[in-house]
Assembly symmetry: C3
Homo-oligomer: 339 residues x 3
């Protein structure tokens, strides 16, 4: 695909080559995200960071990525005060807001809302999450993390063995990641979930149609023994019909250091789309894994910044101009490190 001027609404837009080109630009962004250099290539450009469903980390990550390219951010953080709540259509909202900014990131809880919004927008739109549907930059940062972790272990994405664990029914991060991984070769998926929270059939079918192997099971310990990546998820409580129903699955699968040591191959990578639920009755990923160097969850969020910088740079066609305005960072950055 041609990224210039395009909306990014779904991972279904991407072919393998597209992903690789995003990753290549993301690599180029690392010195800026690491504060080794500063660029001002988007100085004067405005991001409309429109979060009609609350979020802290995704919103701040997008805003930060834009700032790191030199641009300004205008944002909204909820729907309550918006014109949408007064009966305005997505069409109108899009026509208005796209007159204010150079690119819009939009999150809204209604599935398909961002696509509807984008079709009326006069500037490119990135889907920052539309309900349980799509959140393409999350899937890209997950795959980028997998690629980097595998490279660090002398492997690659092709031939990957990945175990997806937990709420595979409502977790859109998992859905999108499955789609992206399917573009690669010979992936072995182990799907570990309670039967009520299985990966929806359409995703399984898509994986198999692409020639990958899928094994489904309900037993955590059996499922994690031969994996390169464990991708653990939180129960998506807010997507369940009721809190009571969500609570039934809380804490069903718990990975901790002793289980890891006993059942996993050495250097098995642990990922999670975050936030992980650290309350006593949940703990799908125990705090005692925090010192485990294979815990890649914060490398994931760090990678989110460079992935989003890459998307911005490619959509606005400035990837090759980033270095033109590059300068040294004059402030103290020594304490800073990439985990």
């Amino acid at each position: 695909m041609n990224f210039v001027g395009s909306h990014i609404l779904s991972v279904s837009q991407f072919e393998r080559d597209d992903i690789e080109s995003v990753f290549s630009v993301a690599d180029q962004m690392i010195p800026y995200a690491n504060r080794e250099r500063v660029t001002r290539v988007l100085e004067g450009a405005i991001l409309g960071n429109m979060f009609f469903e609350p979020s802290t980390r995704t919103r701040v990550s997008f805003g930060c990525a834009w700032n790191l390219l030199g641009g300004d951010v205008r944002e909204t953080t909820e729907i309550k005060a918006s014109a949408i709540a007064k009966g305005e259509s997505f069409y109108d909202t899009a026509r208005v807001l796209s007159g204010y900014s150079d690119l819009i990131v939009m999150r809204h809880q209604i599935e398909g809302s961002v696509e509807e919004f984008a079709s009326a927008s006069r500037v490119p739109v990135i889907n920052g999450g539309d309900g349980s549907n799509e959140h393409p930059s999350q899937a890209l940062l997950d795959l980028y993390t997998i690629r980097k972790e595998m490279e660090g272990r002398g492997k690659q994405v092709d031939d990957l063995r990945i175990a997806l664990i937990g709420d595979l029914r409502y977790g859109r991060a998992v859905h999108s990641l499955c789609k992206l991984l399917s573009l690669y070769t010979n992936i072995h998926f182990t799907l570990i979930s309670p039967s009520e929270l299985k990966l929806p059939e359409q995703y399984v079918a898509n994986i198999e149609a692409r020639g990958h192997k899928v094994v489904e099971m309900e037993d955590l310990q059996a499922g994690i023994t031969q994996a390169d990546i464990l991708y653990v998820t939180r129960t998506q409580e807010e997507r369940f019909p009721s809190q009571e129903e969500a609570d039934r699955y809380k804490g069903l699968f718990r990975l901790n250091q002793s289980i890891y040591t006993e059942f996993c191959e050495p250097n098995t990578v642990i990922m999670h789309p975050l936030p992980r639920d650290s309350r006593g009755d949940a703990r799908e990923l125990d705090d005692d894994l925090n010192e485990n160097p294979n815990l890649a969850i914060f490398r994931q969020t760090d990678n989110g910044v460079v992935i989003r910088m890459a998307l911005f740079a490619m959509i606005l066609d400035v990837a090759d101009k980033v270095e033109d305005s590059a300068q040294e960072v004059p402030w103290y950055t020594e304490g800073r490190f990439r985990s």
Copy 2:
């Protein structure tokens, strides 16, 4: 009036010459709002975008206008967390906040609050809306839009025939626009509303005292036949004593393409202060007008940006310095267009 260092609190501050000078600076801002050029004239200046009543579009429009001049924006989006909620006076709030920024835009639901605030502020204040009282930048952008639409049709504001439609009682946008139009010559006002939502007598008296013609009626179709501009409004539900009372007027006047075709002169301009209510039982302005080139509602919001840039530039006396720091825009803007 002298704009430099002044508060902008009410449209009553303006004479016709003042308005024309704002419009002239606004014209000068178009290349920057259109991303043909970037200026950094306000680099280092801080806008205090203080919205104690929620708003997305007005808040973002002001913030965007400031960013387009190169400045930074600090903002608040509600009253709940504010010191005002802890019993602080507007005097104190103003003394404190005016120590933080170079100019303040304030919205608050209490009528007269912004004026009280401004009297204690140490920096210029623009009224971003105080209840059903004033919202002067909205009136300016409306009139600016009328002028541009008329120019495009070989006409001017003088001798304008305008039909104001809907909730003329609570709609402050209508009130302020009437005041501004009254400064011009020979305007013909057709006021179309249910009798309970008529334009308050004081506004009618003011229009007539200035020598303009006013006709009031309750029939939409009869009222729109000989107009240059149809200015349609939403029922201001939030200003009504109760939702029940507001609901009685919902959907009372509905303009759509077939009515437009049957009753309006060709090229009659359609305006609306937005948001329009697109829910089934409201629809004062039907979606089937979206492809009608005379629908100027998104040109209005676009014009809001340049009007606000003009106010900022005039108050801070940088209108003639904007071009000093002007540069080419290095990012992709082709998809961008002014509707």
Copy 3:
């Protein structure tokens, strides 16, 4: 202490020399806060302004201080939408957010939360207030104000006579200020409060252990007769077990101009951490003092900006680079003055 790369969590970190060095850098920041000059030393740096407990003035003050050094601000204004509300640990939140910004200011209502957060953060953290525990930049700006007010009267901080008035139990501003003042010589503290809201014993003991004099009383008029500074506080309603209990102390001590004239020495300085409660039944500091030139409450908030600029500049080691990028301010600033 060495400020470079350090967290600022508590006033207990400071020795007298440290305070003096902050004040010296703060003095250097005045021309920038006064808009006599603009600096861009932090251009490209990102502040994570993370307010998990709502606040307008402190949040805006920190954000403004960062902008005045040339940096960008990403922020959050409440806890509701945060991952913390979904069960995320402070550890995780810190690991994630510290990948986005160069420095974090954090406010959270739980005592000790900011310290826990900082221990996991990869970038320096400033405590913007953790419940009734600490808010070190407030204490620094208070002491900086005292120093400047005393200097203007030919005095100094040593030998100061200060009366602390009101809710001394829950007011963290008072607690921290007592600690800082204790680092100086021969301070005379008069503590005026209802017996139930007395300064907690540990603070009194600390003051006395440092050799200062403490007098406690419940009578406002007797307590303010021989003071250089009156530091008046609001009843910290939100810290009380119930609103009813808080209401019992509302309006118990009220300072107004006639009491000031009758009982205070000429030029006694009046301070308050703000907001003051101006509602009829509270009014711990009457509006009729607003024209009294000894009312220093807005000089306090102004001083907050330069103190926060100083902390940022020292932590990021750019204090001596601020002037390198300094320029004239091209916009109108004449109306601006420091109260």
